[in-house]
Amino acid sequence: MRTHPTRLACALALAGLFEVFPAHANPEIEALRAEIAAMKRQYEARMAELEARLKAAEARSAEPSRPQGAASAAAGAFNPEVSLILQGRYAQRDDREERGITGFLPAGGHAHGSQRGFSVDHTELVLSASVDPYWRGHANLAFIDDEVELEEAWFQSLGLGGGLTLKGGRFYSGLGYVNEQHPHAWDFADAPLMYQALFGERLRHDGLQLRWLAPTETFLEFGLEAARGQDFPGGGDRGNQLGTWTAFAKVGGDLGESHSWRLGLARLQVRPKDREAHWHDTAHDEVHTDFSGRSRAWVADLVWKWAPLGNPRVTHFKFQAEWFRRTESGEMTCEKGLCGPGGVDRFAARQSGWYAQGVYQFMPRWRLGARYDRLDGGRMDFGALPLETYDYRPARASLMADWSPSEFSRLRLQYARDKSMRGQPEDQWTLQYIMSLGSHGAHKF
């Protein structure tokens, strides 16, 4: 069949008409198109606005910001709270075979940062959490090269009532002010001389502590500790007996809005048995000594803080001072040197010391500090033993400046003129960093 050419043209023309003017045929479609166009304009406007905001946000995030949010958010995320303290230093020191404090029996144990040059101090891993509403647990592992030391591991009651708190395990004694502070919380790179002389660094117990907080307007707290007493000034094995007793009282409060203070007094009683130490005989040769008897000490501390209207954010000042007097009496044996195979006689000593320091934050993040340490070798009586006594007063003066970009990091430069060894004054320079990773627990006053 042949298609008629005219009919075909008509069909094409009709199709073309519909093609060119389809909307004319339906007003509903026209309305929809108008709506789509309006939405398109609206979305384009919003997109443009969002793009502008994105650009502004990108520009803002290029500026440095504190990691406070990220770090503190982690505290709620984990149980137990985990934190890692990175601490290291560069120390410029004289080359000495042995270090100590002239006229004081060496406290043994380790001291933070006794190495020269670059070194990494303790790297501390701290785990702590409330066990339940009644108990809190805390463990502190210190890593030093291939060693792991259990620095602290204790539990503490939260709800005994009547103002009582019981703590047990391995913990730092509540005596004095610096004793409970961790090295990363110190205002200087090293412990005060008096702490080095008294305890090696700080007094640590394996035992129990009971504290009572009085229900008074003024802060008033009493504490009693009973412990094994294995570390200096204790030592030796006393079997089932307790080696150490500590009692302390603390009182504190505010003076107006800007000042706060705390005073403390503590008594320490230790019964060392065969506590070993190196000493010198009257011919300056090294001898080996063993002490058994009593070691008793008084420790007093004072802290005073100032911040304008109680707001320490911009500027604040902190003054602290501590004093001690220690009496030791008992029996001493010595070997080698002039002592020969072994000599025994009574031993008595009375020694004292103090330090005072001030730290001033003069603008946010920057602090300056000064500290003066003084010890008095006092009287040492070795009876008839041929051991050397010293008439010397060790001293040290330190200056420090530190910069803390945030609550979690700190860089410090410290200079000290150290006269703790007789006839060997030393200029000590220390550059130190302290970084806290993870949820970092709040510090005490």
Binding site: A75, S130, L158, G252, G253, D254, E257, N311, F445
Partner: protein, 117 residues
């Protein structure tokens, strides 16, 4: 917020004669508690308007106040992270420890310990 809920519950169940000793972390909460509790509460604020509530320290005077508090009303959200945990821990006060299964504030003073009107 949990602490705040405890606070409101405590205020609702409060008998007329017991003045509840409340320690608020910020003046705003102190004002709210005062508004709700009236003369049935003795309120004090741990911080003032001049202080940054994130930066203050757990001072001895605050520990002494926390020791005597029946209730602590705070913001949370880690605003007080630098000092409130220490304050609660050192207060030796079971009434204000978080996470207690039986509402601590309601339990704060059993009826036989309350002073007569």
């Amino acid at each position: 917020m949990q602490v705040l809920l405890f606070a409101l519950l405590a205020l609702l169940t409060l008998p007329a004669q017991a003045a509840l000793n409340v320690l608020a972390c910020e003046p705003e909460w102190a004002a709210l508690v005062r508004e709700l509790g009236g003369d049935r509460v003795a309120v004090s604020s741990a911080t003032t308007a001049a202080q940054d509530p994130h930066r203050i320290e757990a001072r001895p005077s605050l520990i002494a106040r926390a020791r005597r508090a029946d209730l602590v009303v705070c913001t949370g959200a880690e605003l007080e992270a630098g000092w409130l945990p220490v304050l609660l821990r050192e207060s030796a006060n079971p009434r204000i420890q978080p996470g207690q299964p039986d509402r601590p504030a309601v339990r704060a003073r059993p009826p036989w310990q309350r002073a007569p009107a």
